[in-house]
């Protein structure tokens, strides 16, 4: 036992007190003497006291050593404030980029949808087999078939629900107000895994089938009812109809497609159920094969459609709900994260270059420390502390900056990043930023420390301050510069392509003119405007009043705003056409003056007049629909119908208009036709004002006119059409702006890196330059020799960057419009920008080298 205790003590002594190694044998023997002659308990107590003494001494010794080393590192940093500032700025930039981008990506990929077991949720849509028009909402008949299959457990679906989004008018104490709303079927909340905060979700009670029931959001419950539990059973007036409050949604709950304040029960027997288009969502068993599920649901479609006599030939389209919600933004965020990763790598290379250059310049000081008795480990620790300290400062600043930028991006992209307002981004930002900081800290501490120890060993203290000495050679410096140039090249070229893409997008013809026009949406209460003549009369009166009172060039109302979404799908037929000749078409409604107001050109024929829609049916068709139905080019006066058997109700074409883009800036206009508002008197219409009045708060002016006619009619401001276009291009602008920012950061990082590595290279070549100068070469000759070397480095960097650009092309291609991922313009711009940056950054070191006295440089070696 004594031997074991002493062996253990000796081990601890070696580990904790290496300074006592010369007297270790004697010390252990003395401890042994103290243990002798005591009982087991007494010996154990003495052994414990001795070990505690050892530990206390070890800790004191190490703590004091660290305090001294930290102080020495701080002095070292103060002696080179410029390098320290560059390192901190470089690390802060790289960590900030990574923090912001990775945190945003984690928001989508890691946090994902805020529903329990969200990976089991799928979006269910319908797709016409032969139309090729892409997935669209479900019909009621399909939803009912899926619901029955889920209830019987035969369709592979555990539960299914559906919703229909609209904006409703809430009439309360503060007057009418437009709020986002959803009509939801029974099972919709349950499918998403939500539990009511209060009351219940409708669908289970017998009277739910017909009575207007509503579930309110937590926010509306707090605001309108003061968070009172007695809100249940009270009434909300939506679109003029009283709805009974039966439940309150849980706090923070939101639908997958955006915010909603009320959830109106919708099902068989409720108003507007038949003919409604629904966004389906289903919960499936873990590991369900979605393609097989789509086939099973498709098999249900035709049977159900035949049973109620509606069209067949619709396939089920099933995709993960996560993809349906985040599908548009996720690629952009992934690219941003990849770009930020490149910036981070460039930053790491820069930091390393700067710190290595700094360590090289200190070789004299390190050699003197070594000569004065400092151990190599001790010297390495001081150098490591310097690098780690700077990296930690930069990392902390970078995390703060990254969170700020990430937050600003979310605010700026409101509505663009789904669920952006739920928070939680900061948590991931801190995690990612901290990991990045630790990585840079290890790098900044490790390699310079190794080099510092080597230099301290191998440098002659008397001449080290002046001599070249061994250590990280010029080749390493050139590799670092080449790596930075390659990374920056990829970033700058990608940014240039994205900017060119945005410019191409700006030149894309939209089919309408956005300048000097603004839009509002007016919703007439359907209970008081049941008469079609009243609807048309109201909108005509508003248009007349605006034209007479305001300085406008045109005023018009239409059912759909350009870039506002596809609208209603149908099929157009011509007299005598076969079953296969129907053309998928989008249906719209427009009043006289709409095309002038929105800036859609009438190519042939005429605009609608007040008489259109009164008796004989007339339509206006878009250019592509005219070409599809009447390839001979003579559309005016021809007839068409939106149904296969119109029973003689053919409509005559009175005009052909340009294809307006409704589904997006990049989506080509699809065939569409317009009915006169008088023939299809929709109560909710967009009103567009064009002219000088459109730029001076048109919504307020329209509101005052509307209020004179009917104060209960809400007017929703949609702003200038130019803002509508801006919103439609926001994802690309966000990606482009972020990449340009990252690219500018990368150029800055490269500049920082070149300052460090060129200083290192110049320092190492002082002797060579001195010899050249001594044998008669002038400054120009030296400069030429230098450029030959740096030219090769730049060529290697750009070549590697080109390969990187090629590897990234599949990712960037999907984010570009009208330009290729690798274009001569972008490549030239990137190479030029980097050449200028690297040249400017290398100038100070070059001047130092040229200004050096040849005799002094030679003497130093």
């Amino acid at each position: 036992m004594r031997r074991l205790a002493l062996a253990l003590y000796r081990r601890l002594l070696g580990a904790l007190r290496p300074d006592l190694a010369p007297v270790a044998d004697e010390l252990v023997e003395t401890v042994g003497d103290r243990l002798d002659g005591r009982g087991r308990v007494g010996a154990a107590r003495i052994w414990g006291v001795e070990v505690a003494d050892l530990l206390r001494g070890g800790i004191e010794r190490r703590w004091i050593a660290w305090v001294y080393d930290v102080a020495a590192a701080r002095r070292g940093i103060r002696r080179a404030p410029f390098t320290a500032a560059l390192v901190v700025a470089s690390v802060a930039g790289g960590v900030a980029a990574l923090t912001a981008a990775a945190a945003l990506l984690a928001h989508v990929v890691v946090d994902g949808l805020p529903y329990p077991e969200a990976h089991r949720l799928v979006s269910v849509a319908a797709q016409r087999d032969e139309a090729g028009a892409g997935p669209r909402a479900l019909r009621v008949v399909e939803w009912e078939a899926y619901r029955d299959a889920a209830a019987s457990g035969t369709g592979g679906v555990e539960s299914v629900g559906a919703s229909w989004r609209w904006t409703t008018t809430l009439t309360g104490a503060g007057g009418p107000r437009r709020i986002p709303a959803l009509r939801v079927t029974p099972g919709w909340f349950e499918t998403l895994g939500a539990e009511p905060r209060l009351g219940r979700f409708p669908g289970g009670a017998p009277d739910d089938e017909t009575e207007p029931r509503v579930v309110v959001s937590w926010g509306l419950w707090s605001r309108e009812f003061g968070g009172d539990d007695r809100a249940l059973g009270r009434t909300l007036v939506l679109d003029g109809t009283p709805h009974t409050v039966v439940g309150v949604a849980p706090r923070g709950f939101r639908p997958p497609d955006g915010e909603a304040e009320v959830f109106v029960h919708h099902g068989p027997g409720t108003e507007g159920w038949i003919g409604r288009w629904l966004d389906g969502v289903a919960r499936v068993a873990p590991g369900t094969d979605l393609e097989a599920l789509a086939r099973r649901l498709t098999a249900l479609n035709d049977g159900a459609a035949r049973a109620v006599g509606v069209s067949t030939g619709w396939s089920a389209h099933v995709r993960p709900l996560h993809g349906a919600v985040f599908g548009d933004i996720e690629p952009a965020l992934r690219l941003a994260a990849a770009v930020a990763g490149l910036v981070f790598l460039a930053m790491a290379a820069s930091t390393l270059g700067l710190l290595l250059a700094r360590t090289m310049r200190r070789r004299g000081e390190l050699a003197v420390r070594r000569a004065l008795g400092a151990g190599a480990r001790h010297i390495g620790r001081i150098v490591a502390l310097e690098g780690a300290g700077l990296a930690l400062c930069g990392g902390a600043a970078g995390i703060a900056l990254g969170l700020l930028v990430g937050d600003r991006v979310l605010v700026a992209s409101s509505g663009l990043v789904p669920l952006a307002d739920r928070g939680g981004v900061a948590r991931w930002g801190v995690v990612v930023g901290a990991l990045a900081t630790v990585g840079v800290g290890l790098l900044a501490a490790g390699l310079p420390a190794v080099v510092g120890r080597t230099l301290a060993h191998t440098t002659n203290p008397g001449r080290g301050a002046r001599s070249g000495g061994p250590g990280p050679g010029g080749r390493r410096g050139r590799v670092l510069v080449a790596a930075q140039l390659a990374l920056a090249f990829v970033l700058v070229a990608t940014a240039a392509s994205l900017v060119a893409s945005l410019r191409a997008l700006g030149r894309e013809p939209l089919g309408f003119r956005s300048a000097s026009a603004a839009a509002v949406r007016i919703a007439l209460p359907s209970d008081r405007y049941a008469d079609p003549a009243a609807v048309v009369g109201f909108y005509t009166a508003v248009g007349t009043a605006l034209s007479s009172r305001l300085d406008v060039d045109a005023v018009g109302v239409g059912s759909d705003l350009p870039l506002g979404g596809a609208g209603s799908w149908g099929t157009a037929w011509t007299p005598g056409a076969s079953d296969d000749d129907g053309v998928p078409v989008l249906q719209r409604t427009a009043a006289p003056g709409w095309f002038d107001a929105v800036g859609i050109e009438v190519l042939e024929g005429r605009d609608f007049t007040a008489d259109d829609g009164a008796e004989a049916r007339t339509v206006m068709v878009s250019r592509t629909l005219a070409d599809a139905l009447w390839p001979d080019g003579a559309a005016i006066g021809r007839r068409m119908a939106p149904r296969r058997d119109p029973d003689g109700a053919w409509a005559t074409v009175v005009g052909v208009v340009e294809e307006g883009r409704y589904e997006g800036v990049e989506a080509p206009g699809r065939p569409q036709y317009y009915e006169p508002h008088r023939a299809a008197p929709w109560t909710e219409m967009y009103l567009v004002v064009r002219g000088p009045a459109a730029v001076r708060d048109p919504a307020a002016r329209v509101r005052s006119v509307v209020a004179e006619l009917d104060p209960q009619v809400p007017v929703e401001d949609h702003g200038p059409l130019e803002r509508v276009v801006e919103r439609a291009t926001a994802p690309r602008r966000l990606t482009g702006s972020a990449t340009v920012l990252f690219a500018l950061g990368a150029v800055g990082v490269v500049g920082v890196g070149v300052v460090g590595t060129s200083g290192l290279a110049m320092d190492r070549r002082r002797r060579e330059f001195a010899v050249r100068r001594a044998v008669g070469a002038d400054a120009g000759g030296v400069l030429l020799a230098l450029l030959r070397g740096t030219g090769w480095t730049a060529a290697v960097g750009v070549s590697v960057g080109l390969v990187g650009l090629w590897l990234l092309a599949p990712v960037t291609e999907g984010l570009l419009f009208g330009v290729r991922p690798i274009s001569p313009g972008a490549v030239t711009l990137a190479a030029g920008a980097l050449a200028v940056t690297a040249s400017l950054a290398g100038l100070p070191a070059l001047f130092r080298a040229l200004a050096a006295d040849p005799a002094e440089a030679l003497r130093g070696d």
Binding site: L13, R17, D19, L20, V23, D25, E26, L27, E29, T30, V31, D33, R34, V49, E50, A52, D53, L54, R56, G57
Partner: protein
């Protein structure tokens, strides 16, 4: 060599180590026993750390072991002249401190 006149305070363990060495040269364990006999517990590592520093400062010095002690692993330490002066200086410092403590406030 340390400057014995600077009269910097000695820590209690160090002072007790020096007091133990006033009579004869002692090895480490004997020093520990002497200190313990005076009612003070000292760790072995602390003892050898202090001895190393005192030796570097010229306060103590190693001496050959007496012939009676044949154990070659034990080193003996003795007080140097500077060490004796250092003990006296510390004693004077402590006496002055004691006088100060005994003096009644307000008396001359």
């Amino acid at each position: 060599m340390t400057d014995v006149d600077d009269a910097r305070p000695l820590s209690e363990p160090v002072y007790r180590i020096l007091l133990a060495l006033r009579a004869d040269p002692l090895h480490g364990y004997a020093i520990l026993q002497a200190v313990e006999d005076d009612g003070f517990t000292l760790g072995t590592a602390t003892l050898y750390t202090a001895l190393a520093r005192l030796r570097d400062d010229g306060i103590v010095a190693e001496v050959d072991p007496p012939e009676a002690d044949a154990d070659a692993r034990r080193r003996y330490y003795r007080l140097t002249a500077a060490g004796r002066l250092r003990i006296d200086a510390e004693a004077r410092r402590l006496e002055a401190l004691l006088d100060l403590a005994r003096r009644v406030p307000g008396e001359a």
